[in-house]
C-alpha cells in the first residue's frame, strides 16, 4: 500500500519552541522537523500508512501539545524532485 505523506505548518506560542520540538521528536510518524522564519514557525513532514493514522496523529498527539497555537496540514500528491 502506498504511504501517505503530509506536510504540516505549525505556529507556536512565544518561548515554547524547544518544548514543542522535543514533544514532536518523540512522535514516530514525524520524519522531519524544520524550524523556519516567516509566517510559520515549524514545518513538519509526516508519513503514515493510511488516512485514519493521520487523523489519529493530529487529534490524539499534535492537538494535545498546548504550546501549539495553530496548524495547517497539506497532503503531498507527488514528489517531483
Amino acid at each position: 500500500m502506498a504511504l501517505i505523506k503530509a506536510l504540516m505548518v505549525v505556529n507556536i506560542n512565544p518561548n515554547e519552541m524547544k518544548n514543542v520540538i522535543k514533544q514532536l521528536q518523540s512522535i514516530k510518524e514525524i520524519k522531519q522537523i524544520s524550524t523556519v522564519a516567516g509566517i510559520y514557525d515549524l514545518i513538519i513532514e509526516i508519513i503514515v500508512e493510511q488516512m485514519e493514522d493521520l487523523n489519529d496523529l493530529i487529534v490524539e498527539k499534535i492537538d494535545l501539545i498546548e504550546a501549539i497555537k495553530s496548524t495547517d496540514t497539506f497532503i503531498v500528491l507527488k514528489d517531483y524532485k
Binding site: K5, L7, I21, Q25, I30, K31, Q32, I33, S34, T35, V36, A37, G38, I39, Y40, I43, D72, T73, F74, I75, V76, L77, K78, D79, Y80, K81
Partner: protein
Amino acid sequence: MVEELFSILIFNSLTVTLLIIALIANGKKLNYITILITAILWGLMPWPFFHLTADINSLFTIAFLRFFIATIGGFLFIFISLICHRYFRRKSKWNWFQYSFQDFKTQITNYLPISPPKTGMSKRQVKVPYLVYYLLLGLFYFITILFYFYSYQNLGVIFTAIINMVATTIFIAGWNVLRKQESIDSIKFTYLLILLVAGILTIESLVITEFTELIVFGIISLIITILTWVIFIILSGADDYTQAEKDRVLSFTDRANNFQMSRSMVKLTLFFLFSTLTLLLFAVILKAFPVAGSIMSDQINLFFIELQNLLTLLSNPWVWFLGIELTVFPYFLYFLSQNNWSSRSLKWNQWVVILGAFEPLTSIFVGIFVGQEAHKYNLLLLLLATIILASTMLLRYYHEKNCLKSIILLRVKQGRMKNLLTRLKYNPNIVEIKTITGQYDVVLRTLFQSNHLLKTFIEKLKGLDSTLEVTNLIEFDEKK
C-alpha cells in the same frame, strides 16, 4: 614480467573494489561516496599512463586509444542496456544500484547527429547544429587530454594534476562571477586564495635545473590543457534540455532520472566518438602540412607508424584499463550519482566541488608510488601543498554546508501547474518539489549561496505568469 602482472593485479583489484563500493553506495543513497570514488578513479589515470609510455612512443597514439576504446565501451554499454531493456522489460529497475535500461533506444534516435528518413523514400538528414556541437566538444576534449598527457610526460604527473585543478577551479569561479551565477563571499575568497597558495607551493617545489625545450613544451601543454578544459566545461554546461524533452520528462516523472541517465550515456559515447574522429582529422592535417623539426610533427609520424600495428596495441591490457576502467566507469558513476541524487543537505554539484580535490590527491600518490616522481620535487614543499589542498575540502564543505536553505510555498494559477513544474524541475537550486493539497499548490526546498541570489529567485517566481502567491520561509534547522 612478474612485476607487470603484479601491477595489473593490484590495479584491477583496486578499481573493481572501488566500482563495487560505488554502486552499493549509490543504491543506498550515499551518492557522495560514489562521487568520491569517481574522483579517485579519475586520479588513477597516470597509473596506466606510466605503463603505456614504456611501450608506446607517441602520446597521440595513447590519446587515440583512450577515446577509441571508450567509444567501443560506451556503445557496448548502450547495446547491453538495450538487450536488457528488451529481455528484462518487466523488471525494469535494478534496485541494487538504481538504474533502469529504459529509454536508451529513444535517446539514440534523439542524439545521433543523423535523423531517420521522414518517409520511406526520403534520405537520412544530417542535424547540423548537433554535428557542430559534437565536433566542438570532441575537439576541445581531445586537445585537453592530448596536452594533459604531454604535460604529464614533460612536467610530471603530480605537478600537472595539482596545477590543472587549481587553475581550472579559479578560472571557472571567475567565469561564473562574470556571468553572475556565483557570488564570491569571504569564505569562498579564502578557499580560492588557499588553492592559489597550494598552486604556488607546487610550482616552487618542482626542481628544474634548466629550461630545456621539453620543459617549455610541457608548460605550454599545461596552459593549453587548462584553457581547453575550461572551455570544454563551459561548453558542456551549456547543453540544456529542449522544451520537447522537458515536457516528455514531466510526462513520466517517476522515470525522469532514468531518462536523464540514458541521455547522458548516449551523449557521452557520441562525444568519445567525435573526440576520436577529430583527433584523427587533426593528425591527418598535421601530417599533410608538417612543421619541420617540431615535436608535434615527430609525434604525428610516430602515431601513423604505431597505428599500423593497431591489433598489437589493442592487446596491451593497460590500454583497456585506461579506456574502460578509468574513462567509461567513472563517467558512468558520475552520471549515476547525479541522477539518483537524494541528499537534501547538499546538492550534487556542491559535493562534486568539495570532493574534486581527491583527483589530484590520488594522482600525487600514483606519481610518487607508481611513477617514482619524488626526486623531481622539494618534498617538504610538496607535502605542504598537499596538506593545503586537502584542507580546502573542509573549508569548501563548511562553506557549502552554510548556504541559505529556504522553503517556498506557491499558489499556482488554474491550468499552469504543468508548465511551472517543468520550469522548476531543472533549476539546480531547487532540491525538492512537491505538489500538495490545501491552501498552497506546490512546496519547494531551495539552497542558495547568498541572500541576494535567493531574493532574485523569489522575485523571478513572483514575476512568473503561473504564480498567484509566493510565500518564503527561511529554514534554520532540520531535526530528526
